[in-house]
Subunit: 604 residues, 3 copies
């Protein structure tokens, strides 16, 4: 066993003589694992009644013969043109209400019976055909599940989903607060998907009814999970122990990966950070992906060796960067380092996406050399790092529901972004050199000294009590503005802000001030004065000690940061959008309390 090395490989796009070149170059670069078949539905099922696996047979046979291991995709991430023509139900209706026709990828209506039947059948046949091949080491279902559909089939599916969730329409009407704006539903069929044609204005984040929009988002995540399970179950009919995964996209808003994760045998994800200053962000995302399966190793399923293609600007990874980022993944728990892709496509939208082998097929490019050098390093390493990791004593809570609720909310501020708040707290910990777990709100918190809950807008289940328990036994809980605001249905708690977190935090918030991004309110933190922006909650301490104070506006001198003794521990409340220096100062106090500051605590 060693860290896997390889990536997406599409030999079906090339004549077979090119495959020989490929394997020669794979040898050079110590490529041991290839992901094949991700987009070959049209090739392997040329019409509804005909399956043709001859090319895929040759691809898998050749890989096996060359001694590679195969991550075999089910190929269902883009349906064939003939299928869209024969069964128009398979294409989506978008948020604007437009019925799509054949094109693109990730384009199937998740509720389409035809899609569900044929995608499962494709997975079933592939499993039956290739499960016996020992080169096949993993099943890769679909690809980067994403998007949403608003068709009539999805509307019907949504109503079924709602019927199961709510006892009856009374429950739904209460949950969605439908007496507001005359929205009482008297029949399930009156419910429409929330879209530009119904509840939304300006875009997907602007809704008249948060409740329905939130539930539709959850439903879409579940509907695609059902698509994944359709295929996984079909695979399991003949392949009982080869692990099954699908490639996630890190902090992707569309799907609640915490709900998906139990159904994956291992997590895997595609790392395309916004730019080359994203090291901390990537570290957090690795932690989040590792946290999906309670710390088990994951695969880095895709990264580019050089540049992406789909962005407005696609910069080149500097020399050494690809290597560095690959090792970062391994250090955070990856036991596979894979690229998209092995050989660059000739045409279409990824023609300029970086690849291990470029259009000229050379082995003397800088990029190929760096890949080969990394391959050699990973070979030398062997199984030294597999599975190794120090347990973290600090956790950051990450919650898709809070993300959604916060960003579809009308008021207080459209400028507050969930990821930004979370990442600022992670950055503070990363700068301090502290190991972090990124976990869901249902995770076991008993192993952590410090639990950070940035912008935990929605409180579900017993999370408030479990956070109190962390403090009660001596730990520290940190939370921020816009936490503790709503229940699982996005209804406000009928109590002082921050709702059920109030006791732990020892504060009460009656009012808050949102200001334009250019407005700064300085906050004094000990000797330090930092900046705060966007949102300023006005805190009335209910036992908490004031740690930082606003320096301007009519609330100058009132608390912006507080600390509350609770049991043997503490609850910290950060009421304003502190800048990074402020967040880092707060977290440093907390870490110091637990002796958790890293080896270079003064290095930012």
């Amino acid at each position: 066993m060693k860290v896997r090395f390889g990536g997406d490989y599409n030999p079906e796009q090339w004549p077979e003589e090119v495959w020989t070149d490929d394997y020669r170059l794979f040898d050079t670069a110590r490529i041991d694992t290839v992901t094949v078949g991700v987009f070959d539905w049209a090739l392997t099922q040329p019409s509804e009644d005909v399956y043709d696996f001859s090319t895929l047979d040759r691809i898998v046979e050749r890989a096996a013969a060359e001694g590679r291991q195969v991550c075999l995709a089910t190929g269902t991430a883009a349906h064939p043109a003939w299928l869209a023509r024969a069964h128009p139900e398979i294409t989506r209706v978008d948020f604007e209400g437009r019925k799509h026709r054949f094109g693109g990828r990730h384009n199937s209506c998740p509720s389409s019976p035809v899609f569900r039947r044929l995608s499962a059948e494709m997975a079933r046949r592939r499993a039956a055909r290739y499960a016996g091949n020992p080169a096949v080491v993993a099943w890769h279902v679909g690809n980067e599940y994403s998007g949403a559909c608003y068709c009539d089939l999805c509307a019907a599916g949504f109503r079924d989903w709602l019927r199961k969730k709510y006892e009856g329409l009374d429950g739904l009407n209460a949950a969605w607060n439908t007496r507001f704006w005359s929205h009482t539903f008297y029949d399930w069929d009156e419910i429409e998907p929330p879209s530009a044609l119904t509840e939304h204005w300006r875009g997907p984040d602007h809704t008249a009814f948060q409740g329905i929009t939130l539930d539709y988002t959850r439903y879409m995540s579940d509907a695609m999970l059902t698509n994944y399970l359709d295929e996984k179950n079909a695979i399991r009919e003949s392949s009982v122990d080869v692990p099954v995964t699908t490639n996630f996209m890190g902090m992707f808003r569309g799907l609640d990966y915490h709900k998906w994760a139990p159904h994956l045998d291992f997590a895997s994800w595609d790392n395309y950070p916004p730019d080359d200053t994203s090291q901390a962000r990537m570290a957090f995302t690795h932690d989040l992906m590792r946290g999906l399966k309670d710390g088990q190793p994951f695969w880095l399923m895709e990264q580019t060796p050089s540049f992406t293609a789909c962005r407005d600007v696609n910069p080149l990874k500097r020399p050494g960067v690809m290597r560095l980022w690959s090792w970062q993944a391994v250090a955070h728990g990856a036991d596979a380092v894979l690229f998209f892709q092995m050989r660059a496509s000739r045409g279409a939208s990824e023609k300029y996406h970086g690849a291990v082998i470029g259009h000229s097929g050379r082995d003397d490019t800088r990029v190929f050399r760096e890949v080969a050098e990394l391959g050699a390093e990973l070979d030398t390493l062997g199984d030294a790092v597999l599975g190794a990791r120090t347990p973290a004593r600090v956790a950051i809570l990450f919650d898709w529901d809070s993300w959604w609720a916060l960003e579809i909310s009308d008021g207080p501020s459209r400028h507050v972004k969930y990821q930004s708040v979370v990442l600022a707290y992670h950055q503070a910990l990363w700068d301090a050199g502290v190991d972090v777990d990124a976990v869901s709100v249902t995770a076991d918190l008993s192993r952590y000294d410090v639990v950070v809950a940035p912008a935990l807008h929605m409180l579900k289940g017993d999370i408030a009590q479990r956070l109190e328990a962390v403090a009660a036994r001596g730990g520290t809980v940190v939370t921020t503005f816009l936490s503790g605001r709503v229940d699982e249905h996005d209804n406000a708690f009928l109590m002082d802000v921050p709702g059920p977190l109030g006791t732990l935090m020892g504060v009460r918030v009656d009012e808050w001030d949102a200001r334009a991004p250019e407005v700064i309110n300085p906050v004094r933190l000990g000797e330090l004065v930092v900046e705060s922006r966007l949102l300023f909650e006005l805190v009335i301490p209910q036992g908490a000690e004031v740690v930082g104070e606003y320096q301007s506006d009519f609330y100058a001198g009132t608390p912006a940061v507080t600390r509350n003794a609770y049991g043997d521990g503490e609850g910290w409340y950060v009421a304003a959008g502190l800048d990074q220096a402020g967040v880092s100062w707060v977290m440093r106090q907390v870490l110091d309390r637990h002796g958790l500051s890293g080896p270079y605590p003064d290095v930012p």
Copy 2:
């Protein structure tokens, strides 16, 4: 009698035990008036054949029993979901041509026979049921009429409206100048609503045919007025003397409030200014609303006690601001100061909109205390200010047709905004401490010394002659660039610019220069040099005296501001987009002429 105090109240969203808390808090805050039933159509008509007023009965009875006065809404501003399902005609088709389905509010097609029948029936039944209750002091029809529909029913309605307006198609073809771009209509049914699918490009302000777009805007305003009248007439069947209103939105572009006003028994409006530096803007809007009914008192129907929710950034009203703005409303003629809303909703899009009573139900918040203090002040005041007001000697003309025509025009500049021009002239008067009436172009001008007509793009009826009459008897008329350009059909006058205002102004304009917003042309005004931007008309005096001159470009040294002796008075022409200092200088000269400068003329 005293200034009413209270606001929107939605007890149907709450269990009845909460109502008891509400009235306790209303007592504390001296709340005497509540607006109820604004969005309860789904509650009061659960299906087409069933009306259920039991909850509304209890709400009204309780209010009366508690000694409050009730502004009773007809509840028709959002139709029920069952109705949209049973009669899809009721939902709108938007500007993009998309048929909407159930969702949102202000969502009914104004031409839908079902909507017209059922909304009138709802108003009829409410009037019949509650008219005898002496607590009911006003009828509140619909809510914030707005939006537009482009469905086939509206298209048919538009054709009927056009048939009534124009003698025949010849008249219409002449009015719309349809020989341009091959647009001659030979049959009424060839006429389509102007939308993204027909005449428009880029958006609602960009049209190939101003004539049809202008008429459709007028038609939509009239169609909604018809909706209002449907309900008002139904109310009058059983309630003969309780006054009827609907809440306007100040300078709202969608409806010509001057055409609506005669049909309201009193005006009322919702004041949600863009930010807390909007005092002058609010003053003008109050003047405009008061001017709708020839100076009669109006109601401030809604304002937030603290913050809004629907904006990107929703700042908190500073301590004292709510009080200050409330008194400003009273000073400008309001005899009601009402809030949206009494108790904050738990869920949906106004959950974070400020309210007198927040989610915690407290009476010890700053906001509640300020409301209660204002309640006490208004109680103390009694009827002292009701109806009192000094007649203004200065009028600003405000004209929806000019607003529309100016902003849907292709050329000269998309950056010139009607409101901005008007507000600059009002600001000058407000800074000078002068009382102002904001009136329509059909208002009686004989009582004013000074009439300001900023950007009066369209001249209708005898307005030019009546402005000449103002000057003839010694008054001063001020107008600006882009005035006097088009007739009521938006066809250019076939004469020198500024058309029928040319004689009064004593100028002729052959050409004009629009420049990007960053281009400034200094203008000398006496000793002062100010900036001008956006549009620079080149003035050739025809008897007028030059007051200010451009300082740069090839027209440096030519007139930017002129004054023309006319009868015993003067006509002033401001040919460029002067900055505020420039506008204020001009207006100060005019005010000085009439001894109208306020008590602190040198304080800006």
Copy 3:
């Protein structure tokens, strides 16, 4: 013979007494040519079975009687309302999939059989009626062909076009690289127009499949060319020798004018530059339009005498500018100087578009005087300049396919714009005072000393060999980053970048770095250090000499500009987005080599 002077004239919008005024003013201004009938379809065909040319008869007769020459339009650029109602097929479906209804102009589906039949019939009847009138000196087909349609008729037409282009579906699948993303087509009817409903995301430039988008763009250009030919052929049935044209729009992306040009008897175009600093741009565009017909004279069919109307900001042409630009057109090969329009429309979207005669009908405006003065100058000139021109020794290649392919590409950078690159190289030549031809990639290059091929992304046919031939015989070829990347199907060349240009350029490019617009990499060129932006290709010389080097980033010191000896000549490769100073320096070296620097080589 003299340079024609006049413009678009729409007397059908006016009562006939106005025509008398018009001709009086035309006499004053020496107007000798009028374009009539451009938008009179609704007037001349009031219903499907009725044609009524009575007004057009009077217009043409009057023009002839007044001694003017007539450019007679076919009137088909906007269909009548009755036609859209009777045959809804005629209106377009837009990129968003929305079926349009009557409105606007340039609004007909090019594939509509009804449109094709009736537009040809209209042209046929006009030719039959007026061909014998000696005043008719040119036929003006349609107007500013533009826009695209995505309806089912166009989809069917697209499939026919594809069937003719590709031997079979195998050829198409290979050309579009459809094995990518499961796009293999098994039946022609599976192919959908590429739109927001199929392959596109974000807009027309963002496509999942460049191949289909590129072919659809070509198809639309061809489909409209077919519309033009329908009419031209109908005209030729009775008018055998009056030349036929349509007015182009300069660097207009929608149509491949190089493919259209052979079918025009002379080229003509409408010059509406973005602003009054566009002299170099206009010079290039004139060169491009002249190059369409191999250097033959063209008509300046439209320009405004003063201002446009359709832009956000419509500045006034300064005194003398209209004259200057008119002479520039003549100097670049125009033998007609025409205006849009002779008399300003009263209403609709061009009411504020400048005209020779304004709404007041005056002859004493500055604009009218300048027109009249130019008319007198042109009269004095007579035939002195007609057809005269020095042959250019420098050519710039302009290629619509490269334009399209570059800008619909995913990666490397959305900020690189084809026109900007081309214009920078032209600006360098213009600043140097050098005559330039702007020619297609199929033009005869044997007459040029220098051939510049900026951003020649796509290499078709034998262009690489013909560029080599230029250098082989001693000429210089200059090309840039993003050249030589793809073949005619937009598939990458399977060789080193710049593909078939590699031998001539003596370089190899393995990787490239796209950066945000604010990132600058200085480039040293001899003594000069200039800035480069957007895209930085990393060049590995294969025989070329290094001329300029990057100054920063990890590729500092590597080549940014190279020169390769080839035969008796040279190939220059500019690997980065140099600023204007850099481009000018490069071009100056090249010009110096051929002794081509203009008379004032040091004046920028």
